[in-house]
Symmetry: C2
Subunit: 463 residues, 2 copies
């Protein structure tokens, strides 16, 4: 991969790659200047590294061997880097991003005004508050339990409020430690696998099959309706499961989740259920794993206001760790997670928590559903477009992601083709694991006019 060094240290060439997780680890070169991509609102800022007179200034601390296992950059900064490079190449192009799942619509005023009010109150003696509970403010924990788990037996003290699901996934990995085994849907949100690698749960990346050793990849394809054939899945300690799924957009049915819960029970596994898109479900598929009887004894659920209320920048999520969930020795998982939260985290921003409390008020929930409805209309438009062009299209109905099949083609090639010819950023399916090869994820998080314009360009390219 060649990288012409621009004054801003941006590699301006966009190369295609057929390997998952961005192919070669192009950050491993030690003796030459390597740019460090840093995402920054669409532009790309790079940290120049010293052209190392080695030994001279190095410490004697060994690099964490698990970090060295990671392949290239984390997916979304890499997509942002390529977008930025494209914008340098075509400074006049109207680039539209349907790539990273980043919300674009304003936060409903009922929510922002609650945050502004809390902000202002912090400058008053009566309204000031310092450290909150690490687990979240009590009224918010209660409100989340009621709003999303009202009749499911999940209680206030099962809810751990956080700065977002991604941070919680990482904290859960720290909780489990390096000795557990894990399974992921293939394809899946890269944070599950990458955080597992960082914690040392995996062995090396196997370039031939584009998988890390010691991770169970549960294949999710059009053929199996994007639900893994559990008879072919080996037992692991932890099963990460995301529904509605990012990136495939597929929501598991009640019957499928019942089978998954039974599978976990039979194996004594813990499911980490990512329900960050649950409110995008249109049909009667479960919105929480805890709708399945017995799930409280085998599952953790993590979720977020990011994709409901446009909180991707505000940062507020939560994780449910039921008190019924026990390790093999009978020790409650929630107790250790509580310790992690108290030791490694100091609670979510109090202002964001006030926003979240407004989100789950009657007016807030109504406003949220309107925002979600808007993005779902976007998804419909994108689905209709690719359907009309003869593609096999998945997802979209219960999720803000449309999963478009380009059989026999490399995802990164398609990504580059679409970017080069339409100036639309998507996300290459192979970035979510080898099972995503041949697919491209198109995000419905966009202003309406841009969705319409992107679809017009898609029709021109693939007519």
């Amino acid at each position: 991969m060649s990288a012409i060094h621009h004054p801003h240290h941006l590699p301006t060439s966009i190369s295609s790659s057929t390997s998952a997780f961005l192919g070669q680890n192009n950050f491993n070169t030690r003796t030459q200047s390597v740019p460090l991509p840093v995402r920054s609102n669409g532009s790309c800022k790079c940290v120049a590294t010293p052209s190392a007179e080695k030994s001279a200034n190095t410490t004697k601390v060994s690099r964490n061997a698990n970090m060295a296992k990671l392949q290239a950059g984390y997916l979304f900064p890499e997509v942002a880097r390529r977008k930025a490079a494209h914008m340098l190449k075509y400074p006049d192009a109207e680039v539209i991003s349907l790539g990273i799942g980043d919300t674009t619509e304003p936060i409903p005023e009922v929510i922002t005004s609650a945050m502004a009010k809390r902000s202002n109150a912090l400058s008053t003696i009566e309204g000031y508050s310092g450290y909150g509970a690490e687990q979240g403010e009590k009224p918010l924990r209660a409100a989340i339990a009621k709003a999303f788990y009202g009749h499911l037996g999940i209680e206030e003290d099962d809810i751990f409020v956080s700065d977002g699901a991604k941070s919680d996934i990482s904290r859960l990995q720290v909780l489990f430690g390096s000795d557990v085994t894990m399974a992921v849907q293939d394809p899946s949100y890269p944070a599950y696998v990458d955080s597992s690698v960082i914690m040392g749960q995996t062995k090396q990346f196997q370039k031939d099959i584009e998988k890390y050793a010691n991770i169970e990849y549960m294949s999710c394809t059009p053929e199996n309706g994007f639900f893994p054939d559990l008879s072919k899945v080996s037992r692991t300690d932890i099963i990460f499961f995301c529904s509605p799924n990012n990136p495939t957009g597929s929501a598991a049915s009640r019957e499928q989740l019942t089978r998954l819960v039974q599978f976990a029970k039979d194996n004594g596994s813990i499911i980490v259920y990512d329900s960050a898109y649950a409110l995008y479900i249109s049909d009667d598929n479960p919105r929480s794993i805890f709708e399945i009887p017995g799930a409280k004894e085998i599952a953790i659920e993590t979720s977020s206001f990011s994709k409901y209320a446009g909180f991707t920048g505000v940062r507020l999520g939560w994780t449910v760790v039921p008190k019924q969930l026990l390790y093999s020795d009978g020790f409650p998982v929630a107790k250790d997670f509580n310790r992690i939260v108290c030791t490694c985290f100091n609670g979510a921003s109090n202002i964001a928590q006030s926003g979240a409390l407004a989100c789950v008020s009657p007016d807030g929930l109504k406003a949220i559903h309107e925002v979600i409805g808007f993005y779902k209309e976007n998804a419909d438009i994108i689905m209709d477009t690719f359907n009309s062009l003869g593609f096999n299209v998945y997802g979209g109905k219960n999720a803000p992601y449309v999963w478009v099949h380009f059989p026999g083609r490399s995802s990164w090639d398609v990504f580059s083709e679409i970017l080069e010819k339409t100036h639309v950023v998507t996300t290459p399916g192979s970035g979510f694991g080898p099972g995503g090869e041949g697919f491209v994820r198109v995000s419905a998080f966009c202003h309406r006019s841009n969705v319409l314009e992107a679809c017009r360009r898609f029709k021109q390219l693939y007519k």
Copy 2:
């Protein structure tokens, strides 16, 4: 330790303990109902755990052995639990907290109005923003670099904005992994040691000496001026060093830090320098490790607006990882930290970042210094009180903590005595490590009237 179960599941007895880190691990009992303390603004909420019919509902996932090494609860929730128990015992008592270092004074209006403005803007098309850069918004990174490291050669891209120093300490431990060795000041902020235990860098807790095996405890006492005798310190990969120190309140001099930097260079170690209290320094001691020549090649610095601007609840800190800092193989530490930040974190709340930007504006800095000045006056009052009572008193001058010596006595006994007889919450020194035994930390974070009242009660108790 007996625990009478109150309707709210609060242990109402306060027992003394001479062991560090809260003595016996009273959470390890598996077969009986054990309350899980959860701090919540001064009151205590407990998660009841099932009176485990073991085997029946347990998973087959083994508990993380590193979590099992941890001794009892994290210090501050434990102090909060005892405070809550005390309030149940004496419901009419006017309890004053000089315990946990939690800010009490309102945030200056110049800062809260910036956060309110950003909150409101998020409901507009022009003002909305989604995911920000994981490393922080560019103007904020630049402003922090300028405000605190103006002439020290630290640049915008060396700054990683975060949700607070505690979270960053944990992320740094994940960065380093389980194979490094570490040193801490003894006593020190418990998050260093506890996060090290969680990551598996240590061996078991040794009850006889009240230390974890495989951690180097650098003794900081009145005799050595609270700066370790480096000739007695074994080489470790990582050296956590906090100045002005929490809990001793002592700030290291330029000459001492020069020796520390040389020590790290000689050993090829990395210093993680916690400067969260730097602006409390009155004299010309360094406010950043990067004031010491050569420190950029051996040090990381972490800091926060928590104790400057009352941001303990707002959550905004930063970590400086200079691009000059290299692992033994020449790989830049900043690159791996960038990967950790991108994979395990999604950036600090955008609203909090707007507040931080206001903090480092000329008006904001002026306002911050006023708040700090207020707390420093509190520290003076507390110091004068204990001095007048004939105690040996340390810290206070360059820090918001006063470190009071009770020679020959157990810290927890003194903590309990003060709480029982004056209804004032302090923090037992032994909670910060065995080197804190015989001391009590008195925090200056309090309303003035409460400081004066607490000091009146101290004078009555110890006259």
